[in-house]
Every structure is written in C-alpha cells, then in structure tokens.
C-alpha cells in the first residue's frame, strides 16, 4: 500500500487522535467510520450480479477494517450502504436519489453493472459530486463530460481494438497460422453494439480479416438454427460471439455442437464476463465450453491465488468472476482514495482518485495494469485480459505475466 507519510498527514493523524482522546469515554469506544455506497441490481433479472458484487465488497470492507481502517483518518472504519437498483432505470435512479438524500456523508460509491443503470445512477451522483466507480464499459458513460465518474473497465471500443489482433496472435503462436476470415454473431444491446462498431468500420480490415458472417439478433433468441446455418455455409476461420445474455449463449453453443462445429472445429472468441459465468457451466456443461476464449476487462490473475481460494471458501462459489473481483476492487480503490486525500470529503477523494497511479497495494492487485484515470475518467494503458475455459474453469491465459494457465487455440 502506498501512502505518503507527509508531515501534514502525520499532524492530522495526531490531531485526530488527540481529539478522539479528548472525547468522553463512551465516544472514545466508537471509532469513526467512513461511508461509501454500492448501487447494483439485487432484485429482478440481474439480482445475481448484484449479489456477487456484494460478496466481493463485503470482503473488501472486512479486509480494510482488519488492517486498521483508513489510517490517514485515524483508523476510521470503512462502511458500505447498499441500495437495490432493481429491474429498471427508473428504479436505479430512485435508489441513487434515495441513497444520496439519506446519506449526505457519502464519500464515494460504485455500481451499477448494467450500463443503462450506471448511466442513470451517475446522473445523480455526478450532481451530488460523489466519486463513482463502475465496471460498465459503455462509451456513453464517460462521454458526458462528467468529472466524478471513473470507469475501471476499458471502453468497448478499446476492447474491440485489442481483442481481435490478440486473438489472431494467440492463434498464430499456437498453430502457426493466422485466420483470414471471421464470423460475428451478436445481440443488439449497447455493449456488443459499441464493441462491434469500430470493427465493422475498418477494424477487421486492419487485422487482415474478411467478415463472412455478420448476424445481429434481438434478444432473447428463440432458436439458433438459421444463425448457425449461415455459419456452417460460410465456414469462417473463427467465430466472434457477442451474445451478452447467458440463455442466448447456450442456444448458440448447443446449436454449434449440433451442427458438428464444436470440440475444436470452430474456434470461439467471446467478449464480456457473462462468458465466464458459473450459470453457463451449469446449464451447458464443461465439454462444450472447453477451449472457448473470451476477452474481459478484469478476471482473476496471477498473484491472486490466495484471494481466489478465500473467496471460494467464504461464498461457496465455484470460481471467482469479474463481479466478485470488481466488487472487491472498487471499495479498495475508494479506500486508497480516502487514504491519499486524508479527509472524509467526497471532492477531495475524487481529486485523489483522479491523481492516482497505483501499481501496488490491495486495490492495484485487483486490476490488470496501473490504476490511473484520464481526464474523462477512463483507465489508460490497460492490457486486455483473455480467459479460456479449461476443464470447467475459466482461467486467465493472456497476457502471459498475468496468466494462470497457457492458452490453447482449438484446432482440428
């Protein structure tokens, strides 16, 4: 953990301690606490994601407080208030407004998983000047000229620019050949749309790829037969899957198997954390998933092995995913911001986050690359992580220094 022992902070610490000692006995027994917020769906169709985020967050708070709380604030304990974003943007906004109104002493917060929820929530938090962290990667979130929003995931556009060349590199290093044709199957929700846009506008060409199948569907998918029929006749070198909802993934993957395109016949590259969810494993089974690659903003990496085991044991989850990891990482970043600012002041915390450049410490360990944000609130210099399903567990395989396993490029 990096924190500067400036004279100012020492003096502050002494002053705070002195003040605490001066308080009556009862007051002394209570350590001060600092409040942050989490707004995520905890009811409705996305309740599971909120649940996972919360699991990570609870662990983060536990760890921070076990280490002595926020030292520059005299050991103030970190505490989280939770609000349920529900199942609609209206509910998410209401939750944000309620949280802000009921907790004027909030110094920061994170959430809300679904990019449209995050958009609605940050409209409130920006006006309340509360620094806000999110793993949502819709470009719109940081395109509004907001000063208090920080996106820990790289934008969809950036991810697209990284994913395709990296996949090709992986193919080349594993098989010696670079595919020249690609197929794209995606739904028309916001994240896949912003991911695919730059690819269609020259990204594929630049990577030396010809797009031979290009199918967009409106979720939910009823049957994948016509989709996969097109894939079967076009025979692309690999398939880019941007099916963000798990049920649609299942239909596509099973149909590929039915059409005898699975088990290595057609390499699959996906994007986004849903491709690594335990639900996917439960409904499809490990054999069909074996070898599927997906790029994702954040995934358990080398150096986190102990944390992974701890998380699994505490929560009973089969493996750690992006939600649990960011659920831990975001409060950790806020804690770092509090430490650096030395004040339970939301504006100062925001400034501290903006000035951050963390490469070590519990927060930095949760994310690939340094924790550093540009003036839009986007992270700079983040390596794209690739994970791959191997023996029923999605493990990070790229970049090599963060990998927990070696990548395999499926081939017949």
């Amino acid at each position: 953990m990096t924190h500067q022992m400036t004279r100012r902070s020492v003096a502050k610490g002494l002053a705070v301690s002195a003040a605490a000692l001066a308080l009556p006995a009862i007051g002394r027994a209570q350590a001060k606490s600092v409040k942050i917020a989490m707004i995520a769906p905890m009811s409705g169709p996305w309740a599971r994601q909120g649940q996972l985020l919360r699991m990570g967050a609870d662990l983060a708070v536990e760890d921070t407080n076990a280490r002595g709380g926020i030292k520059s604030l005299g050991g103030a304990k970190l505490s989280i208030v939770y609000a349920d974003a529900g199942d609609s943007t209206e509910k998410a906004k209401n939750a944000a407004q309620r949280l802000v109104a009921d907790n004027p002493d909030l110094v920061g917060g994170f959430g809300s998983w679904l990019s449209s929820f995050t958009l609605a929530v940050t409209e409130v938090t920006e006006r309340a000047q509360i620094p806000w962290l999110t793993l949502s990667y819709s470009d719109a979130i940081t395109n509004r000229g907001f000063k208090f929003v920080f996106q820990t995931s790289p934008t969809a556009e950036w991810q697209a620019a990284q994913t395709v060349p990296t996949a090709l590199d992986l193919a080349q290093s594993a098989t010696g050949k670079r595919p020249t044709t690609v197929g794209l199957i995606m739904d028309n929700t916001a994240a896949p749309t912003s991911f695919a846009k730059p690819l269609r506008e020259g990204g594929f060409e630049k990577a030396g790829l010809k797009l031979v199948v290009d199918q967009i569907y409106t979720p939910p998918l009823s049957d994948a037969t016509p989709l996969i029929e097109k894939v079967r006749s076009a025979k692309p070198g690999f398939l880019l899957l941007l099916t963000s909802a798990m049920p649609d993934c299942k239909l596509v993957l099973e149909k590929l198997d039915e059409f005898k395109l699975s088990h290595g016949k057609l390499p699959l590259v996906g994007n986004g954390a849903p491709f690594g969810s335990p639900e996917l494993l439960k409904t499809i089974g490990p054999e069909l998933l074996e070898g599927m690659l997906f790029s994702v903003a954040n995934w358990p990496m080398k150096g986190q092995e102990e944390f992974i085991e701890r998380f699994k044991k505490k929560t009973g989850e089969p493996f750690l995913t992006q939600d649990g990891l960011c659920g831990y990482g975001h409060p950790a970043i806020l804690a770092e911001g509090l430490e650096a600012s030395g004040a339970a002041d939301k504006i100062k915390v925001a400034e501290a986050i903006r000035a951050m450049n963390l490469t070590t410490g519990p927060a930095a360990q949760c994310f690939p690359g340094p924790i550093k944000f540009d003036e839009k609130g986007r992270r700079i210099g983040v390596p794209m992580i690739f994970a791959q399903w191997q023996k029923g567990v999605p493990v990070t395989v790229f970049p090599t220094d963060l990998a927990l396993a070696t990548p395999v490029w499926p081939s017949v």
Binding site: S43, S88, T89, N94, E123, G145, N188, T189
Partner: protein
Amino acid sequence: MSPTVKRQLWAILGLAVAVLALMAFLQSDYFELVLTQVLLWAMMSVAWNILCGYSGYFSFGHAAFWGLGAYTVALGLIHLDLSPWLTIPASAVVGGLAGALIGFPTFRLRGHYFALAMLAYPLASLYVFQWLGYQEIPLPMKREAPILYMQFADQRAYVALALGLLVITLLISLSVENSRFGMSLFAIKQNEPAAEAAGIDTWRWKMLALMLSGALAAMAGGLYAVVLLVVTPEAVFGMLVSAQALILALFGGVGSLWGPVIGATVLVPLAEGLNAKLGDVLPGIQGVVYGIAIIAIILLAPEGVYWRIRDRLAGLLPELAPMPTPGATIPAVPRAAPSPTAGKDLLVLRNVGISFGGLRALDGVDLSVPEGGLYGIIGPNGAGKTTLFNVINGFLSPERGNITFVNESLVGLRPNQVCRKGIGRTFQVVRAFTRMTVLENVTVGAFVGAADAAAARHMAATALDRVGLGARANALAGGLTNRELRLMELARALAPQPRLVLLDETLAGLGHDDLDGILGAIRQVRAEGVTVLIIEHTMQAMVQLVDHFDVLDHGRLIASGTPETVVRNSEVIEAYLGKKWAEQVAVAVK
C-alpha cells in the same frame, strides 16, 4: 358553468395547492423525485383514461406514445440541440399524429381485438428503436445554460413542471367530460351501435379521443425523459409502462376524473416504498404485494376506489329510488299541425335482400310506410325483423333492392348519417348510464339535432315530457323500473325530433299495467306527427296499437294489411302456430 364543474375546478386547485405545500415541506431530493413520478404517472393515467375510461376502448399500448415523447425529447436534444421547453410541446404533436396513424387501422376493430392490436405497437417500436441503435441515450448535461435546457439543480422545479402538466391534463379531461365530446364517448362505451344510431359520429369522436390521449401521454413521456436523464427502449416502450397506466386508472376509478390521480397517489409511492424497504431482502416482494393489491381491489371495488366511495356516499348501492305512483298521467302536449306530406310514403323499401353465408335473411322485401302511420312488423323469432331494422338503419348494407326515405336513398349511409336524416331507433337491451340522471341519459340522443349542449338538454327535456317521464328527469337512471327504462329509451330516440322512429321490441316482457303506459306513450307520439315503425313478435299487444301489419317469415313478407285481415291470414297463422292450427282457425273463423 354547472355547479359540478365548479366543484371539480376547486378540487383541481386544491390538488395544486396541496402538492405545492407538500413540496415546500419536503426537504429531501428523493421524496421530491418520487412526488414528480407520482404526478407524471397520474398524468399518463389520466391521458389513458380519456380514451379508454371514457370510451371503453381498452388500450394496452399507451407506452407507444410515452416512448415516442421520450425519444422526441432525447433525440431532439442530442441531434438538434433543441431544448425540452420546445420538444415537450412538440412531442404532443408527435403523440397526436401517432394517435391518428394508429387509429386509422385499429379502430376498425372492437373489444379484445382492439386491445390486442394496441399491445403490438409499443413492442414493435421497442424492437425498431433497438434496431436503429438507440439502446441507451443519456441526455447530455448542459452546464452552460441548464435552465434553458430544463436541467434544474433543485428537484422541486421538476415537481412544479409535472404539476403544471398534470393540471393542464386534468382541465382538459374535465372539459371533455362535460362536453358533447365526452357524452359521445360515454355513449359509445355504453352501447356503440345505439350511439351510432342516435346520430353520434362514433369514428370521429374515437379518433379525437385517441389523438388527444396520445398527445398528453407523449408529453408525459417527454418530461419523464428529462427527469430520468436516460432513455432506453425497455424503459419507455416496455409492457410495464402500458400496464402501469392501466392499473393506476383501474385501481383508482376508471372513467372518472380523479380515479387515475387516486391510483397514482396510492400505488406509485407504495411500489417505491416496498422496493426501498424490502427490495433486497425479498427480491420481487414489491411485485407480489402490487399484484395482491390489484386483485384485492378487483374483488372488493371492481370499478376502482373512486366509484366505490362515491356510490357509498350517494347511497346508490343498497336501495333503489322510490317507486313512482302508478299510472302517472301523460301531460297533454299540443298536437303538432298535420304535416303537409301526411299520408304520403315516407319510408319505402323495394325488393330488399341480404344474405348471410347461405342464409337469406331478407328476401325481396317490399315495404311502404306513410307519414303519420303506426306500422307494425311482426313475425316469429328468426324471421328477420331486427335484420330489417339494421338494414334500414345502416348497420348492414342490402345486397339487393333500395331503401328511400323522403325520396332519398339510405343505402350506403352510415347509421349516424341515417339518424341525421330524421330516423330514430330504440334498442331491445336498454343500457343506461346508471350513475347519471334520466335527463343526462336522454341528452345523448339529442346531440345530433342540437347546436350545443344547452339546446340538447332542452330537447331532451321536451322528449321526456312527451313520453310522460318528465317528473323523473333528475332521478338517477339506476333506480328506474322496467317501464320507466323503456320510456327513457323512447325519449332518447325522440329527443332529436325525428320524423320516423324505429321501435325494436319495446313491449317485450312487459306486464299488463306497464304495457298500457307504453302503448299510451307510443300513441301520443304518433299523435304528434311522428311516424312509428314497431317490431314485435307478440300479436296481442300490437293488434290494438297499429294501423297496419307487415308479417315477416324467413325473410319474406307473407302478409300485409290491417290487423283484422292479417290475423285471419292462414299463412300467418301457420307461421306462428303451425299448419294444424292454421286449418283449425280457418275453419273457426269461417
């Protein structure tokens, strides 16, 4: 201005004051947001009510308008940098146009089909907007000139805006309720064919209602976009939006001015409160409680809270109004001077025929009714009597033959146009507005001949006097006896002072005393110069009443003449009683 309208205006003012007071009292941004949402949803529900509550045409698709309004504001801001101050009124235009576009095809449908078709529009819009790439549209923050773009730091400004729009909507709804527009919608709801036959241009009023409803719903959606700051297709076109508009009105009191407001005031904070308190403990508990609340209200107060309370207060539920003294005299009304065309043929049918599938419902019917005559059309069940009336009225078009009235052809005219020519009609099943007075019920029929509402009321009052129901003009229709209901129906048909009135089984099922009263009224009506054509299937009642009988059987005219001749006609007896009887009577009569 009537006292009821005055009272409603005071109530609206009271609402505004209450909301403003609440706004001043509440300090929390959150509560002000919830209050804004209550007002917006109330407005949406009132807009829904203007079409659906008043006319009975149920729409499950009002989200289409709401969504169009929201996207008009959002896209207007993003692409054209137009302020919501401009685009919210603009979305009213968009909503109105959408209403027209939707109404043209969809009003050809009725009942369930209409409701289901309306369901499709917002869902289709949802897919289209997703396809167009408008999945998530945040409204850009305008730091330089926030107020110009309706971006207020103080949430209370939004409360005020929503209140303003709601008050406008309530005033519009109030003026609709008390105008001819509204009365026509109510008439359509009660019995659309009857309304049509009474001269109400049902299509025109329905279209206007849909356009108005759509315009107001779109404005509500536009302000919603400004408040929410993020527009997604699911948020504004989703099924829940349409369902919410519906539920609030049905819960609070469908077809009333205040019902939707009551519904919004109770249900929106309830939902939000449940979500806030229990949302993460029991995910979905809000939906369950909401569902239970809805079912409870349906079982306990099916038309909504407002009507339940009002009925209780008005004492309508337990007892009927006191019975009138039997045999009330019919006040003598001066006889109208005999028309110069008295005795000449007023309504002439030549060789009229129509078939349904393979069945010949009417087969070459010839009929001439002279002015001032009292003609009866009888025949056994299934003979085609009602079909005949429907053909004259314009509900059906004859396949063959022609129909003239005062030497003008009626074929191809819509029922309300036929009514305008001077033909009135009663219907067998009398569906009255039980919560309105007898006079108000009859006024509906007078619109077609009246220049304005006041004239219509005057004509209605006159018609009531003509049938002898004048004393009951201000009684609630729900408390009428069977006889009085028939008289009221007769008055309604007579209100626009038609030259010919078609009476459809007016005497059916009446007891002896009641029968006398009605017969007297009909005779009086004819005495004043109105030509009467009456359908019945019982001979006894008619024999004393009519000048002339036409007997229909299986779509064909089998006899025509004075009661005495017709009664003895063997074909007629055979049609009614069978061959055996015919032979017996033929013997007896001879």
